[in-house]
Amino acid sequence: MKLTLKVWRQNNKNDEGRFVDYAAKDVSPDMSFLEMLDVVNIDLVKKGETPIVFDHDCREGICGSCGMMINGRAHGPGRGIATCQLHMRSFNDGDEITIEPWRAKAFPVLKDLMVDRTSFERIMRAGGYTSAKTGGIPDGNTILIPKPVADEAFDAAACIGCGACVAACPNSSAMLFVGAKVSQLALLPQGQAERETRVTRMVAQMDEEKFGSCSNTYACEAECPKGISVTHIARLNREFVSAQF
């Protein structure tokens, strides 16, 4: 396949940024999207230019490093995948593909397609845990958690922290990301002791990071690589409200 890529290039946080066109030749349908970019980058380096910078690591959809807007969609076409799991068989010969970084105030661009998602880190540090110290813990089976509850907690815990929910949301809201963690720990007996302080602190931090509000478009669920349900946003709202009284 032969493709034309319109790629966002930006030198650093302060640079204005611009789209640059690149031709991708000899693209095999079995290549992953990132492998296609690898090939483009080898050409760029050989020509003496700087390669397109993007975050990536495990390339199997679990580390959450990669993420770009591809033709206006977070992680590109297809459901339930991260960018690294997108394969070129999803495109046709001659296609023009627009590639942009996540766009959100809380995710400033560091370079090209790489953004700073440390706002997520600060939210997690504001109580996204149980205060269990190492050692002196009773046997795991002293806490019984029926399978449906464990399963639902798992569904929420599957979040990979990629930021697609924020990128897909017209308001750049992080409600699905925060909801997933709050919901996981609110469902489990282990999370009960700090249930109210957790949700209050995490929401406050989310606001401080300048993420937008949720207006129920459900774009986040549609683009989440792990298919995390918006019901966790509903639970987040419930937890937040009940924590205020």
Binding site: V45, K46, E60, C63, G64, Q85, A132, T134, Q190
Partner: protein, 637 residues
């Protein structure tokens, strides 16, 4: 070089508790005066940083990602072992210890392995308390499944994402300490040197990957938890950034490297699809619980799987190993798959694959239950290959997955550099010549939560520390060395990219130092590998500069180190004239084609010392004594 394994006296089941009692303690009020650097924040690094922070030490944690949650521990799928005996099938600490020693083909230290088995139960409890959503049954009890190399069901799991859930647990524990201020976290920093002052590890030099600035950090002890070196092969199941730079640079500063040739090839990976391939994807070994491995009985059979009738299929693992069947250890399963393909029974377009078939499991359990157990793995396969594993058998082939070798450590997990501790996959570890499934997560967390916090305290309490600052001359020298290497790399301005060199080097490693090795091949490798390295230093092309985000420069430094480490792996593989676990020398095999050890000559850890030039290492030996488990020919028949 003095190398003392410091194994405590006494019977094996008492060694750790005796040692814990004999170790010195640091008074809680004094702990904040000690500064500890932790490099790498995967399972082992996050757990040790969190635990040391809880104890009250002044912890500084570094990682090259933006977040600890990106570490490659996250990709571990299948599970974590613990001898809880919840399945009531006769499990015990001793049995896990026995299985691990045997699985490692009698090349691990008994005392360490026993301790690992001993503390592993507490890991499960710890993770449950953190809110890790392990699989449960309808009554609410923790569920177990079986894994390769064991005949009991002792593996705890969270769907096919156990590593993710355990890492997020450790990450949460670390976040809590960052929140309360006992741990200071440095993201996007890559360690490029260890600083040694008066014979002790007293700090690190790191590159800020955003600004390019070279930064120094002083401390009283340094912990490396930087993972394995499988990416030396270019194609492996490791994440793209996983690298050996931290351990290799520590090696060059005096830390011995143990058993570098012990690499694990994982039997169930998705086969290579073309030249562009950037990494390989693993399918959890847990699939072998219900999936059946087979090839056509006829050589060069071109029919599709559904057209091959049952009686023309060879379920070769079940045929060769009736008692373990599809659940033989990884090294055995990998070698047999290679043998089948080498002999012309391979399937798929490349003929370099065997089938892993879920048809019987779907018939027996129904697709719903198969989805419950393996859903995400089967989806992943479909995503990559475009084939539906619920309808056609998956094609699998072995790939480099884990490295049992690593920096040599004593019983306290301390390297030959005093004050430099090495945890998780980065150390030469408890897995001998082969790691059993679901043991990597166990080891990383055992080291981080339950072992190193004690032994590091003992080290701090037993030593005196002169005041050290970042402007000491040792730091300046290390910074200058790091900067010189970077400038040298950028100045070459050759014609080939880092990836092209890495691919070429990795291919030579796979061909001659891969799944099966022989003398002639290894000698050839020792000729080719230094040539590629030499060419790299003359012809590599890196664009951009050192004062900016420069991903090519990051890769170049890692690849430069792989090119030295790869040669050491070949030297080690050539010297070890026996087959054991993941190290298979074709000259040394039994009549049935199994690995043939030579316990008289090679029952030791080869700990290599850097002598100032790559390719000229000096070997030190740690003899292995087997007092509990008598080495025998491994049999899984």
């Amino acid at each position: 070089m003095t190398m003392n394994s410091n194994i405590p006296e006494g019977p094996i089941e008492k060694k750790w508790s005796n040692h814990k009692f004999n170790m010195k303690l640091v008074n809680p009020a004094n702990r904040r005066k000690y500064k500890i650097i932790v490099v790498g924040t995967g399972l082992a690094g996050s757990s040790v940083a969190a635990t040391l922070g809880e104890l009250g030490y002044n912890v500084h944690a570094f990682c090259y990602h933006e977040s600890p949650r990106r570490a490659h521990s996250i990709a571990a799928q299948g599970g974590i072992n613990a001898p809880k005996n919840y399945s009531n099938d006769g499990d015990s600490v001793y049995r896990l210890f026995y299985d691990t020693i045997k699985g490692g083909d009698y090349r691990a230290r008994e005392s360490n392995v026993f301790r690992l088995a001993e503390v592993s139960g507490s890991i499960i409890d710890q993770c449950v308390a953190q809110g890790v959503p392990f699989a449960r049954d309808y009554a609410g009890y923790l569920d177990n499944r079986s894994f390769g190399g064991a005949q009991v069901a002792r593996t705890f799991y969270a769907r096919g994402q156990t590593g993710q859930q355990l890492l997020l647990g450790a990450y949460a524990a670390l976040n809590r300490q960052i929140d309360v201020g006992t741990v200071k976290f440095y993201d996007r920093r890559e360690m490029l040197d260890v600083v040694i002052i008066d014979g002790k590890a007293r700090g690190i030099v790191a590159r800020n990957l955003i600004s390019g600035k070279i930064e120094s950090y002083a401390a009283d002890a340094v912990v490396l938890a930087t993972g394995g070196y499988g990416n030396v092969f270019f194609l492996s199941t490791n994440a793209k950034a996983s690298n050996a730079t931290a351990v290799w640079r520590a090696h060059k500063k005096g830390a011995l490297f143990g058993n570098p040739c012990f690499t694990q090839i994982h039997p169930t990976c998705i086969p290579v699809s073309g030249e562009h391939q950037s990494k390989l994807t693993l399918m959890s070994e847990s699939l072998r619980n219900d999936g059946r491995v087979w090839v056509p009985k006829k050589k060069g059979d071109t029919r599709s799987a559904k057209d091959i009738p049952e009686n023309e299929r060879d379920y070769y693992l079940e045929r060769l190993y009736p008692s373990f069947g599809n659940l033989v250890p990884r090294d055995v399963a990998s070698r047999r798959a290679k043998e089948m393909c080498d002999n012309g029974y391979g399937v798929g377009a490349s003929k370099m694959a065997v089938y892993l078939d879920f048809a019987d499991a779907i018939k027996r359990l129904g697709s719903d239950e198969v989805f419950q157990k393996y859903g995400n793995l089967l989806d992943m396969y479909k995503q990559i290959t475009g084939e539906d594993p619920y309808k056609v058998p998956m094609r699998i082939y072995p790939a480099v997955h884990y490295t049992m070798g690593g920096l040599w450590v004593d019983y306290n997990l301390m390297s030959t550099i005093p004050g430099l501790f090495v945890l998780g996959e980065a150390n030469f570890s408890d897995h001998g010549a082969n790691r059993l499934g679901a043991s990597a997560l166990m080891q990383g967390l055992a080291d981080g939560y339950f072992i190193a916090p004690y032994t590091i305290s003992n080290y701090l309490a037993s030593n005196k520390f002169a005041a050290v600052k970042e402007d000491n001359k040792e730091f300046t020298e290390a910074e200058n060395g790091v900067t010189a290497t970077i400038n040298k790399l950028l100045s070459i301005d050759g014609t080939k990219t880092v990836d092209e060199f890495h691919r070429e080097f990795g291919k030579a490693m796979w061909d001659y130092v891969g799944m099966a090795r022989n003398k002639a091949g290894l000698q050839k490798a020792l000729k080719i590998l230094p040539e590629i390295r030499e060419k790299f230093w003359k012809e590599v092309k890196i664009t951009g500069n050192a004062h900016d985000i420069n991903t090519e420069l990051e890769k170049a430094q890692r690849v430069a180190d792989f090119m030295e480490l790869g040669e050491l792996m070949a030297i080690d593989a050539l010297h070890r004239e026996e087959s054991c676990g993941g190290h298979f020398r074709e000259e040394y095999q039994t009549e049935e084609g199994e690995a043939k050890r030579n316990d008289k000559k090679f029952a030791y850890v080869a700990a290599w010392e850097y002598t100032g030039k790559p390719g000229k290492p000096k070997m030190n030996k740690e003899d292995l004594d087997f007092e509990e488990v008598h080495p025998s020919q491994r049999s899984y028949k």
